[in-house]
């Protein structure tokens, strides 16, 4: 039995009901449809907001994470007062505040090979709003196994991508990207930046894509939309080829369900993401590394140099007094360039204490006479242990 529009729905959805090609039929399709949003972060928040407002009958939200302060710059369903709360619960309150009649299913867990088919089989359309490669491949394989369209969004820095996979004879994510992107091979303290409206643009387009598919407005042509906020034109559509006949997931001899059981998604994508904060805090050799407290005392004592190897944009945000900024790539490219060439002790700092180890090791090779130590745990540890007024970002 399909649900019909209630009396109030005609007013609520009036502005879309009158759209040519959408109409009452389109609205009733949305009302009887279900969408599962995987990832309630920067992409998921705007997607959920628009799906809820548009009147999707049932919405699933999958996310294991809780809200943190650094999420609020882009994860627009969440409030200052909700830090520490589960994202799925805060997201449900937010979208039910928009549309009280919504049915919302919560999955406060990480999606993995053991639960993905159970969770996602009950939905018409899947939205990939995740932020990591292993889950992207798992979601794509699950969409293929279950025969459901997957609206995939991704954003980083000033760039985004949008594509709908497994729609008609269109490709799956594996057809397009058989190999996962290369990971940095060395310990990095750098984190990727993202601008809120960039990820918001892509999340909003994901909701639009889902609404188009459900209401029958989608033309079915597989395309990859590329968004670059800083270039003109900002949007480019790339026509995608059809499903690859030899794709391991969706091809003629594709393994579908078996692929999910047999895959180690994390290993396929280069292994677990290292915990750089923990790695940077490993004390290491006392001749090579120095704690925040010890560095603080040493600095008061005598002549020295401090080299900060973070990117210059981060150095401009905050830095130790009298420190010199030589970003790591520059230092590695030309380790002899640092002046003056006296033998005063050198202290190397960075954000978390990984890049500084690489820099210190290189400097030691070029200045065997000089004491070179790097700050354990980086400037983040400095803020915790020595100077709580030093910003953490």
């Amino acid at each position: 039995m399909s649900t019909k529009l209630a009396k109030d729905d005609f007013r609520r959805y009036g502005r879309q009901l009158i759209l040519p090609g959408f109409g009452r039929t389109g609205q009733e399709k949305l009302l009887n449809a279900s969408v599962c949003v995987v990832g309630a972060g920067g992409l998921g928040c705007p997607a959920l907001q628009y799906l809820a407002a548009a009147g999707i009958g049932r919405i699933g939200i999958v996310d294991h994470d809780t809200i943190s302060l650094s999420n609020l710059q882009r994860q627009i369903l969440y409030r200052d007062t909700q830090i520490g709360e589960l994202k799925v619960e805060a997201a449900r309150s937010a979208i039910q505040a928009i549309n009280a009649g919504l049915k919302v299913d919560l999955y406060p867990c990480a999606l993995d090979a053991s639960n993905s088919q159970d969770i996602l089989s009950g939905y018409d359309i899947l939205l990939d709003c995740t932020d990591n490669a292993p889950t992207r491949y798992l979601l794509s394989d699950t969409a293929v196994a279950l025969g459901k369209p997957l609206v995939s969004g991704a954003a980083l820095r000033f760039d985004g991508q949008l594509a709908t996979y497994n729609l008609g004879d269109g490709p799956c994510y594996r057809c397009l990207y058989p190999k996962p992107a290369a990971r940095a091979t060395m310990g990095s303290c750098e984190e990727n930046g993202i601008l809120g409206p960039v990820v918001g643009t892509i999340g909003t387009l994901q909701a639009l894509e889902a609404i188009k598919i459900l209401s029958g407005l989608h033309d079915g042509a597989p395309t990859l939309l590329i968004f670059s906020a800083l270039t003109v034109p900002s949007f480019r559509s790339i026509k995608l080829r059809r499903r690859k006949p030899d794709c391991v997931a969706c091809g003629q001899n594709g393994k579908r369900r078996d692929l999910i059981d047999q895959s180690d998604y994390v290993a396929f994508c280069g292994g677990e993401n290292p915990d750089y904060e923990r790695l940077g805090k490993e004390p290491g050799d006392p001749a090579h590394r120095i704690s925040g407290k010890e560095l603080h005392d040493t600095l008061a004592g005598g002549a020295h140099h401090i080299i900060d190897v973070r990117p210059s944009i981060e150095f401009e945000i905050c830095s130790l007094p009298n420190s010199t900024n030589i970003p790591l790539p520059e230092l590695l490219a030309n380790p002899e360039a640092f002046e003056p060439k006296d033998d005063q002790p050198l202290f190397v700092v960075c954000r978390l204490g990984n890049d500084s180890q690489i820099a210190a090791k290189t400097l030691r090779e070029f200045r065997p006479q000089t004491t070179v130590k790097d700050l354990i745990g980086g400037l983040r540890a400095w803020s915790h242990e020595v100077d709580s007024s030093f910003p953490i970002y």
Binding site: Y177, P180, A181, A182, R183, S188, N192, I238, K239, P329
Partner: protein
């Protein structure tokens, strides 16, 4: 006789980060006038032009599009000149910057 053709390149996401620019015009030397310049040779030209970063890794996992159409197999595609070729790396949201540390 070898002759020169010109194509415009677009660099997205990780390719943009590695190269430091969004687009450029490239002059390519065509040895086989009938077929054109093999797309499968283009990565080497780009790498030679932009040494000293990890662009090779980015190109390995990227896709090519020619005139806004995704290329199935670069071995089947030859450039005649005037095309717009894009390097499209996967974006997942979590890949640590691969452009800085070499």
């Amino acid at each position: 006789m070898p002759h020169a053709i010109s194509v415009s390149l677009l660099y997205f996401a990780g390719a943009f980060s590695a190269i430091g620019r969004a687009s450029e015009s490239l002059t390519l030397t065509v040895k086989d006038a009938e077929r054109g310049f093999p797309l499968s040779d283009l990565a080497a030209v780009i790498l030679e032009r932009h040494p000293g970063n990890n662009l090779d890794k980015v190109l390995e996992t990227s896709q090519w599009s020619v005139d806004a159409e995704m290329v199935d197999d670069p071995n089947d595609v030859y450039l005649k000149g005037g095309e717009e070729v894009a390097v499209i790396p996967p974006v997942s949201g979590d890949i640590p910057d691969t452009s800085l540390i070499t």
